[in-house]
């Protein structure tokens, strides 16, 4: 069962996080924390031609939250804001057990489905995604 949680893909992202740091300059920044765990995360992103050119995360947390943040950045890079939002919504649905991704589109993010067997850890897996969602929303609100 432990292998469902700490899959090789997750451990790999944890050990070698992708897009760790801060986008500079950036078009949006969002910060979230999980006071229960003491986890903190900051997501920054830069757009080009309506697409996410670069998205990075900084902060600290458990293996699940860090790996999930790393995976999130790899999945959202290159997407339009609308596609990124759709992807985040699908991911969060999966993490609520409402919707199962079958397709390839989820890629490494599929590995996080194993976290569902550990209900108290689900919020670790969703923190970065909620933060990215917040960043996108703030950008859209600013544009109105």
């Amino acid at each position: 069962m432990l292998d469902d949680l700490y899959q090789q893909i997750i451990l790999d992202h944890y050990r070698r996080p992708r897009n760790k740091g801060k986008s500079d300059p950036h078009d949006f920044v969002a910060k979230e924390n999980n006071p229960l765990c003491g986890d903190e995360i900051e997501v920054t992103a830069r757009l080009k031609d309506g697409k996410i050119e670069e998205i990075k995360f900084a902060g600290h947390g458990c293996a699940i939250s860090q790996a999930s943040a790393s995976i999130m950045t790899t999945k959202l890079t290159g997407k339009t804001l609308a596609d990124a939002e759709t992807f985040i919504t699908s991911f969060l649905k999966m993490m609520r057990g409402e919707h199962l991704f079958g397709g390839k589109e989820l890629g490494d993010a599929k590995a996080l489905e194993g976290v569902l067997k550990f209900p108290v850890r689900v919020k670790c897996a969703t923190l970065a995604w909620h933060t990215a969602q917040e960043g996108i929303t703030s950008l859209k609100d600013g544009a109105k």
Binding site: L5, R15, L36, C37, H60, A63, R121, C124
Partner: protein, 419 residues
Amino acid sequence: MVPVLDAVELEEIRDDFPVLHQQVHGKPLVYLDNAATSQKPRAVIEALNDYYQRYNANVHRGIHALAERATREYERARERIARFINAESIRSVIFTRGTTEAINLVAYSWGRANLKKGDEILTTWMEHHSNIVPWYQLCAETGAVIKRIELNPDGTLATPVISPRTKLVAITHCSNVLGTINPIRQVADAAHKAGAIVLVDGAQSIPHMAIDVQALGADFFAFSGHKMCGPTASGILYGKERLLDAMPPFLGGGEMIREVNGTGFTTNDLPYKFEAGTPNIAEAIGLGVAVEYLDRIGMDKIRQHEKELTQYATDRLRELVEIQIYGPLDAEKRGGLVAFTFGDIHPHDLATIADQHGVAIRAGHHCAMPLHKHLNLGATARASFALYNTRQEVDALIRALKEAKKVFGACPTARQMGY
């Protein structure tokens, strides 16, 4: 050194706790989260059932056999608890839902009547949120201010600086993270000399050592039943009668009044003045039984057993080179708990892996966020012991930690990751 509890005695104690005899994820349960809540002996569980099955009735009201029995058992519990802590009298022992409610009672009732702008509440960095937030609320209302006694590098308390403006010292007897046992008598003497009173959060001390509230010099002593083998939603506020008498009531309602007329009310005597509404009768009776249970084994014996176990645990943990233990390393100076971090493995990951090995530990900030911030820590893992824990269980924890190391072996340090 011969352990204070031999294997046979320890096995007898463990037999008193039905919950301990089960498997978790296919492994024997190793329950090391006693600082969060302890398990309950059969005698306590049966006392709850007994009340509901044989004499469920309200207390202090009915003129019938069941009500008389319920009242008798409820008040007998109070007497037992009063003796257990060497209270001034049974009038000074108030049933609450736990430590949190007890401290809130003092903040609301004593605090609002006695504090004004500029007064100081002296506390420490190692308090549980329940001994912080009520004072923040009180300060916001009255304009009083919080001051803190500093920490020494080893996690013990620095000498308190008590100013003429200090009205209250709110201090934990034993830290739920550092494990530090604070020198309450010394602090109380200094506080009293300056005209301040002392509230002691005893939640983490009373399950593990003999408590004499008068010898400690405590004006108020708050604790929870559920951490000391009693039911949840049971707890006590001990207060000096002189202070309690002068305080306005906390909650208004039945039981706390002597008389109510068309325009007002007069308050009941102590301790009922502070026990508005139907209390948690079964739980109060259960706490009385828990106290009797602990007394039978002997608090000095329990303290000695846990001291040996804590020393064993700190020694074994330190065999793992990347372990960082917080608080004093000498078991003499700490209660039966050890908070630690292990290399760069996040405490939540440690707790999940430990759980898969049947070992229940806590991970997070343990309701002590200011302390974690003060020590610049994100989160810690914590193993906390009770009278029924064994060395073999400490060994199981160590094995689980070694497994965690295998899973996360080659992780970069946080610093290398560019914080």
